[in-house]
């Protein structure tokens, strides 16, 4: 049984010791952020802050929900100590069997409804995550639901958003994101407001689904159903036709206006740096706020790895990358987006490598968005989940000139959060991809390919069997 909401998820985390309940009052103004940031950097537990300064009893903040693979495993209903590769494989298997949502008439997210003059975002304990951020980011591990004007494509995307004032949000989807694409191509030319619903505190797998780079035209709610192995219950918004998880903690309904912008950012982002901000971004006029009694606001206090974006977020990213590479005709064995790479690095293992394969992979990954800028391609004898093996392959199998392919990608495809981009690259969102080919060249004769000098590869079976059988007798 999937968790229907974060409350059930928190209960499960309590049983395994993967959440700490903080009863001492904490300040929403940086203190909660600093605590969860340090906990993430220590790979510590999730945190449920029970008492928030300035806010009523019961208003809570749940920090770092899926910032470790243990918590991702628990969210998926797997044992907490499930190996990373097994989590990846299980995610991939479930992703293939999407399950459409069901629509319900009643749900706890409607326990409180604020409309008209009652709308006030300051009723919710939005955190000031880091010193120097541009605002109180109520959306750090939330997602924005929107709909395609023509085809009823319901998109969920994880984009940061902060409180602008009592009745408006400043949102930051990149122009190349799914929401950005729909807004630019369909709504702005007709000067139409884009209806949205910002969902904060959905069940953990719906949130992971929303972070996925799911194909254009496919609904993340179906993916969430697949990951959950049962449908997500959705409920209609009060002021638009969008459907949102009925068990979400907070839903902020609104519309992105076509003629104005909001001052957005800066924000300490998932690459681990605060590198830009205070730019005119999307202005969302709030039309309704609905929330559960004693709401639990979810916070992912992004920064240097690992946090939710590097663990839960990278899982979905890796599977999306694998799909794209497979569609390009490359026989992929595994793909891993390691937390240490802050979602900028992908490691892909292939059955048969070579320069052409490596370049095909680079082109496939950077085709629409070059957000992953470092791609390491390895042969299938390298376990992509073992960074010792990956660094070894990168160090000795990647030729320092012939094995590295560099490519600029078109304006609009770059990662807007890339801290190493200069002002001009940022301005035009110009991307660049580097592919590190750590595979043997395809034209090398088989009998001349270097032999890996490891226990498993450089000794006859008979010797290995004997050594293993006598291992303890050697006193080892």
């Amino acid at each position: 049984m999937a968790f229907k909401d974060n409350r059930e998820f928190i209960e499960a985390l309590e049983k395994t010791g993967d959440v700490v309940v903080v009863k001492k009052e904490v300040d929403w103004d940086m203190e909660a952020g600093a605590i969860s940031r340090r906990a993430c950097e220590l790979s510590g537990p999730a945190i449920l802050f029970q008492k928030i300064k300035d806010y009523p009893e019961g208003y809570r903040i749940f920090a770092a929900p899926v910032a470790t693979y243990r918590r991702v495993a628990i969210a998926m209903g797997l044992p907490a100590d499930t190996p990373i590769k097994t989590i990846y494989d299980e995610y991939e298997r479930r992703e293939e069997d999407s399950i459409p949502p069901v629509v319900v008439k009643n749900g706890p997210c409607k326990e409180n409804i604020l409309l008209g003059d009652d709308i006030d975002l300051y009723r919710l304990p939005s955190p000031m995550c880091h010193d120097g951020d541009g605002g109180r980011y109520i959306g750090t591990w939330g997602f924005v639901a929107s709909k395609d004007l023509d085809n009823e494509w319901a998109n969920w995307g994880m984009y940061r958003f902060h409180v602008n004032n009592q009745r408006s949000l400043a949102m930051s989807p990149a122009p190349g994101s799914n929401l950005g694409m729909v807004l630019r191509q369909q709504y702005l030319p007709q000067k139409l407001p884009l209806p949205v619903a910002a969902v904060v505190g959905a069940d953990p797998l719906s949130s992971i689904a929303a972070s996925a780079g799911y194909a254009v035209g496919r609904n993340e709610a179906d993916l969430a159903g697949g990951l959950r192995q049962e449908p997500v219950e959705l409920i209609k918004c009060e002021t638009n036709d969008l459907l949102v998880p009925a068990h979400a903690e907070i839903v902020i309904e609104g519309e992105i206006l076509p003629d104005v912008s909001a001052a957005e950012g800066p924000f300490g982002e998932y690459p681990g740096y605060r590198s830009r901000g205070f730019e005119p971004k999307l202005y969302c006029r709030v039309t309704a706020i609905t929330y559960r009694n004693s709401p639990i606001l979810t916070m992912s206090n992004l920064g240097v790895p690992p946090d939710d974006s590097h663990v839960g977020g990278c899982l979905s990213t890796a599977v999306s990358v694998k799909r794209r590479v497979e569609q390009a005709g490359v026989p992929v064995v595994d793909c891993y987006v390691p937390p240490e790479g802050a979602a900028f690095m992908a490691i892909v293992s292939v059955k048969k490598g070579g320069n052409e394969v490596a370049q095909t992979i680079g082109n496939a990954i950077g085709r629409r968005r070059a957000w992953i800028s470092k791609i390491i391609v390895v042969d299938d004898d390298v376990d992509v989940f073992d960074m010792r093996q990956v660094i070894h392959a990168l160090s000795v199998k990647c030729h320092s000139t012939r094995g590295i392919f560099l490519k600029d990608t078109p304006p609009g495809t770059g990662n807007p959060f890339s801290p190493c981009d200069d002002a001009e690259e940022k301005k035009h969102s110009i991307g660049a991809v580097a592919v590190f080919d750590c595979t043997w060249p395809s034209h090398w004769p088989k009998d001349q390919i270097p032999v890996k000098a490891s226990f498993n590869t450089i000794y006859p079976q008979e010797i290995r069997d004997r050594v293993l059988a006598n291992w303890s007798e050697y006193g080892l």
Binding site: G132, S261, P280
Partner: protein
């Protein structure tokens, strides 16, 4: 009672002292509405003695680093909470967007 605000700028020396300028400022009054964003027309100065009855304005760089010495601000007019500029216009920072034609750097 002197109030405190903050804003983000490319470079403090680019702010025109003593001239009317439009700014997006964050209200730093403690409490649950702290960091409320307002768009205002104001006069700013690098020292409080240059604006009689002014409030405090903390300047932050575009990556959020606060200048050690605060400026002063006198708010002349409230201009709402949004920037009159369609989404996904060419990327510039907020203060430039609010003051097109004014050289800020």
């Amino acid at each position: 009672m002197v109030k405190e605000y903050s804003t983000f700028v490319s470079a403090p020396q680019g702010l025109p002292e003593g001239q009317e300028i439009k700014l997006a400022i964050k209200d730093l009054t403690p409490g649950p509405r702290k960091y409320d964003c307002r768009i205002v027309k104001a006069i700013v100065a690098s020292s409080s003695d240059r604006i009689e009855g002014g409030d405090v304005l903390w300047l932050k760089s575009l990556v959020g680093i606060t200048s050690p010495k605060p400026w002063a601000i006198k708010i002349l007019e409230e201009l709402g909470d949004s920037i009159p500029r369609p989404p996904y216009s060419e990327l510039i920072q907020v203060t430039e967007a609010l003051n097109e034609g004014l050289t800020l750097e």
